[in-house]
């Protein structure tokens, strides 16, 4: 079927998809808060509205609760983190490549460069 087309670059994913996961499950924020006992309804609301980022413990709770990996619930956040880390790592690799050293320090740099190279070839960016 013919469809409408928006001539724009694809948008970044939302920071998280917590709300739609909850709505699909048919739970209210209060009910989720009651099940995940460490959380208050207001905190869940803030997470869903992307006003705050949950702690690792709470993120893992969401993963277990919805049976969806953290990286899928927090797609936007995960992509941003990945981009930031990869950028920093590329810069660090460049920095290491420019170093001139001898002895143990040279071996350490060589090891890191080797690991980074393996990391790239094993599917990581």
């Amino acid at each position: 079927m013919q469809t409408n087309e928006v001539h724009e670059q694809p948008h970044e994913p939302l920071a998280n998809y917590l709300r739609i996961q909850r709505l699909k499950a048919g739970f209210t924020q209060q009910e989720v808060a009651e099940v995940l006992q460490h959380l208050h309804r207001d905190i869940i609301s803030r997470h869903e509205r992307q006003e705050s980022v949950p702690s690792l413990l709470v993120a893992l709770m969401y993963e277990t609760f919805y049976r969806v990996p953290v990286s899928e619930i927090f797609v936007g956040l995960a992509k941003k983190v990945e981009f930031d880390v990869e950028t920093q790592l590329a810069e660090y690799e460049k920095y290491l490549g420019e170093q001139s050293a001898t002895g143990p320090r040279a071996a350490s740099i060589a090891r890191k460069l080797e690991w980074l190279s393996k990391r790239r070839s094993s599917g990581f960016k």
């Binding site: 079927m1 469809t3 409408n4 928006v6 670059q9 694809p10 998809y17 739609i20 709505l23 699909k24």
Partner: protein, 179 residues
């Protein structure tokens, strides 16, 4: 024609509330919900927040053309607010006329909103439990109907062969067909 939609925010306007749905493709639902407000100007904050939160590529409106003069002024006022906020957020805006909306679901043999809700639920089975049963004419419309109206609007925009009207007049009149 290929589908290059990134994210659309469909807003179904009522006199004292609005329904919204976020679709990232024809089968990926990002969010949906409804908001109530006592006065039309209170809708501004809500619409602005949605635009900020979802960062849509298009804001799709429907429901600003009412058959009832009592509601028309309020609905058009909300449409104007939505237009203002979309402009501020540099978000493109489109309008699905009533005729286009009805003719799209006519192909699925939908006679009323309840049929449309059932059709939407076929596409998104996780929402099937929310489909309201048909009510008598004197019963108030259930809140969840607004969810389905909004999702249906988004689907119509994404899949309709007719381009939705991207122009909205300054007075908030959305489309001659929607009057």
């Amino acid at each position: 024609m290929s589908t290059q939609i990134s994210r659309i925010l469909a807003v179904e306007i009522r006199a004292a509330r609005l329904g919204y749905a976020v679709l990232e493709s024809t089968n990926r639902l990002g969010d949906f919900g409804a908001a109530s407000f006592a006065i039309p100007s209170a809708a501004r904050q809500r619409i602005a927040r949605m635009l900020r939160l979802y960062r849509p590529s298009v804001l799709v409106l429907h429901g600003a053309g009412s058959r009832y003069p009592r509601d028309m002024r309020v609905r058009k006022s909300i449409a104007r607010i939505a237009k203002d906020e979309a402009k501020k957020a540099s978000v493109a805006m489109a309008v699905v006329p009533e005729r286009g909306f009805k003719s799209f679901f006519h192909q699925f043999h939908c006679r009323d909103k309840y049929d449309i809700a059932a059709t939407v639920a076929v596409r998104f089975p996780e929402l099937a439990w929310r489909v309201p049963p048909p009510l008598d004419f004197y019963d108030p419309e259930p809140r969840q109907m607004l969810y389905f109206d909004s999702i249906a609007l988004a689907i119509v925009y994404l899949e309709s062969p007719e381009k939705a009207n991207p122009n909205v007049a300054d007075d908030g009149v959305l489309s001659p067909a929607s009057k």
